[in-house]
Homo-oligomer: 142 residues x 2
């Protein structure tokens, strides 16, 4: 059901210095850097193998990543898995009694569909499911 | 320098229920389950794409994972990256002034060589570098 790790989200307070660690020191290639208003973050994504490291700097304290940063400090924020059928994945979780943050998928970047699962359901790990866009969805999201 | 994510380490207090989430509910295949005395954990590794999810149950409170669990509760513990030259990776980190937990590599599982980098050097994320064993090392570790 889970095909691969789509990305790891890491909360950071200084995006430039975080990027220096992962790109300059550790040599990862930057795929993109952008402000994602609906998630309240400035994001830099770096490529490692088949997955991405997403560095997330909150745009304000009053955002999910901002609250995480205030409470826990910089560090691993969430793990996102690529799924081919997000409804089936959510149904399996619901069937197992898992607490979901998103009962139905919502739109993610580039026409993908995403849903968050509550950490209490997945061993304390905030977990995101990502179903990639169909070609038509991707074109519509351009 | 970093080829891929080798594994994600997740601290858990109940290995059976954690395994049920990742194998039964989310459908990942279990690669192995074993006690690793030198790391003070019982470990279950599940396959997702090119990487592993390692569920880590501490054998006692007085272990690195046990202390993490007491302080933070279950959740993401570390990220391990596969590198082809661990000395070069450590040299790059040292050059950048990064704080290392292991100044020189030590033996990991199956003849691999590993080193931990202090979270302060890598945006609050405890980071492990893993250089896979040569064929000769792997045979010697059998």
């Amino acid at each position: 059901m889970l095909d691969k790790i789509d990305h790891l989200g890491i909360a950071v307070d200084d995006l430039d210095s975080a990027l220096a660690v992962y790109s300059t020191t550790l040599g990862l290639s930057v795929k993109r850097r952008e402000v994602v208003e609906e998630q309240g973050v400035e994001l830099a994504a770096l490529i490692v193998g088949e997955t991405l490291i997403e560095l997330l700097r909150p745009l304000s304290e009053d955002t999910p990543v901002g609250r995480f940063l205030s409470k826990r400090g910089p560090g691993l924020h969430h793990v996102a898995y690529r799924v081919d059928d997000i409804e089936a994945a959510l149904a399996a979780l619901r069937e197992a009694g898992a607490r979901l943050i998103d009962e139905i998928p919502r739109r993610g970047m580039g026409g993908s569909r995403i849903a968050f699962v509550h950490p209490s359901a997945t061993t304390g790990v905030l977990t995101e499911l990502v179903e990639p866009p169909t070609a038509a969805d991707a074109a519509a999201a351009e």
